[in-house]
Amino acid sequence: MTESLITMSKIEKTYKLGDNVVHALDHIDLSIEKGAFISIVGPSGSGKSTLMNMMGCLDKPDKGKYILGGSHIDQLKDRDLAEIRNQKIGFIFQNFNLLGKLSAVENVELPLLYRGVKTKDRRARALECLNMVGLKDRAAHLPNQLSGGQQQRVAIARALAGEPQILLADEPTGALDSKTSEEIMNLLTALNENGRTIVLITHDLNVARKAKRTVSIRDGKLQEGEHI
């Protein structure tokens, strides 16, 4: 058994919608080891976005323990969470979420910018990451000059730039056609084979099956395996 990168125990998160209390996450226990490729599947409203936000340190649990790479996330302040996001997590979003006014390479530089890396080193590292996703020749292009698949690859390069411990991909193929989706999934698989830990959140079972392990979430409760 390899060491555990993510340990969640008895995570709870509730929202109030009018008079109703919604248990978005209900006693979640999850452990993800280093080098894993895990997919979390569930229909919309199942709580998978909340789980993703929790894992990505954008949100804090109401109750329970969350340990990421040795840090007790549930006890940290907002300011420290920003630092954890910057150092340990690489986000890949469904809609790419690139900054439209910045070129591809500048988008990839962003995590390093907030880490205070010098301009020269930043640029070198960003180009290296773009090379990794096969877009070195598109470095100066703006996002709207790139195809959807290329934009997602830029986003992946951005997620890689900070050497995070975990890549969090939220429906990474949701806005792409099936051919480009496959390219992106192959890229993620290759990254996993190179030792990166990937958490994939999706509602698409075909995509989920690319992962080595699948867990299902429904009504805020987590189950091992596909249960949709």
Binding site: L58, F93, N97, L98, L99, L110, Y114, G116
Partner: protein, 387 residues
């Protein structure tokens, strides 16, 4: 993230919305340029007043008699001359008349006075002589021309010993003065000077309503003023009947007027700067709303609240400082155009420019704080969800 990168990023955002950025800066530009132009004009007029007052000499004392029931006579004036500290006195009778030479005529001020006027008003004779006491005693019909009047009436050759008609009466020109320039509404160059007694006949006045006195030196001005007041009190019962002022008083009055004006102008300009600042806040708030998604992305990637705050604050500051710089340039230009068009004095002061510029930067930062704070407080999850 370092400040230099933030400035570069702010510059990029400003360039991305050129029209909007320009309109935002316009408030600051108008504010700063009006501060600079109006203060340059205000300080220029203060300086012009100070210069003209000083050009009359600081030993000058002016006495105006407002009571016309009790007449002040030449004998009274002789007593004034005896007062301690008074070096010389000159009665002044002034009016306006038409001076004619052949077909050329000019409407100028007529000043009837005595020989001591020349030194008291610090004038000098270019050609010929000034009116003498003999002219005064014998009511000689002689005249001395100011330099401008001399050139108007006698464009070619010297006017000395030529005749002019003043209100139809013939006068012989005995002298021409050097140019002195205008001062306080009086242009000594565009005037004709007559012996006092002659002017009394011309203007139909038998008494003295105004005279100048010269103190022996600057330190005896107050002594002289006290002496003059004592003599005046012998003739007049009330101090409301006459006024005794020295150049210092005149200068203080004038400068208090101009400084009030300047403060008013600065106040108005300051208000427009403030309005400009509110404009910046308005646009920055719009910008925060528009860029909610961007803020969410940046936060997800690891931007701290401080980073977001700094980014928006620097953008507001860069915007207002750019406006401030443009305003300084336009203000200088506007003041120069005004000076060229009206021929008045303008004074630029580096302090005013620096203050206006710094104030604009300050306004930008102050009014940028609230939008920046708002941006930094955004919840990343909600911010990411917006489109």
């Amino acid at each position: 993230m370092n400040v230099f990168t933030s400035i570069k990023m702010a510059g990029r955002n400003i360039r991305a919305n050129k029209m909007r950025s320009f309109l935002t800066m316009l408030g600051i530009i108008i504010g700063v340029s009006s501060v600079i132009a109006l203060l340059a004009i205000g300080q220029g007029s203060s300086k012009a007043v100070a210069d003209s007052v000083n050009s009359l000499g600081t030993n000058l004392i002016t006495v105006n008699i407002t009571n016309t029931d009790t007449h002040f006579t030449r004998d009274d004036l002789k007593q004034v001359k005896q007062a301690v500290g008074v070096k010389s006195v000159a009665p002044v009778l002034s009016g306006r008349s038409t001076v004619r030479n052949g077909s050329t005529s000019s409407q100028v001020s007529v000043i009837g006075t005595t020989s001591s006027y020349l030194s008291i008003r610090q004038l000098s004779v270019k050609d010929g002589r000034f009116v003498s006491s003999l002219d005064d005693t014998f009511r000689q019909k002689v005249a001395v021309l100011g330099s401008e009047l001399a050139t108007t009436l006698f464009p070619n050759g010297s006017p000395i010993n030529k005749d002019v008609l003043i209100d139809g009466q013939r006068y012989t020109i005995v002298g021409v003065l050097n140019s002195k320039g205008g001062s306080m509404g009086q242009n000594s160059d565009d005037a004709v000077y007559l012996p006092f007694s002659t002017s009394q006949r011309l203007l139909g006045t038998t008494y003295i309503t105004q005279f100048y006195a010269q103190a022996e030196n600057q330190s005896s001005v107050n002594w002289a003023m006290a002496g003059i007041t004592r003599v005046m009190n012998q003739t007049y019962s009330s101090t409301d009947d006459y006024s005794v002022v020295n150049q210092q008083d005149v200068m203080e009055t004038m400068s208090s007027v101009t400084s009030t004006m300047t403060m008013l102008l600065a106040g108005i300009a300051g208000i427009s700067l403030l309005v400009g600042g509110i404009g910046i806040m308005n646009i920055m708030l719009v910008s925060v709303t528009e860029r909610t998604k961007e803020i969410g992305i940046r936060k997800a990637i690891g931007a701290k609240r401080r980073d977001i705050m700094l980014q928006f604050l620097i953008e507001a500051a860069v915007l207002s400082m750019l406006g401030g710089l443009c305003g300084v340039g336009i203000g200088i230009l506007a003041a120069k155009i005004y000076a060229a068009a009206t021929g008045s004095t303008i004074v630029f002061s580096l302090q005013v420019m620096a203050a206006a510029f710094l104030f604009s930067a300050f306004v930008g930062i102050i009014f940028g704080v609230f939008p920046a704070y708002k941006a930094s407080k955004l919840n990343p999850i909600e911010a990411l969800r917006t489109d």
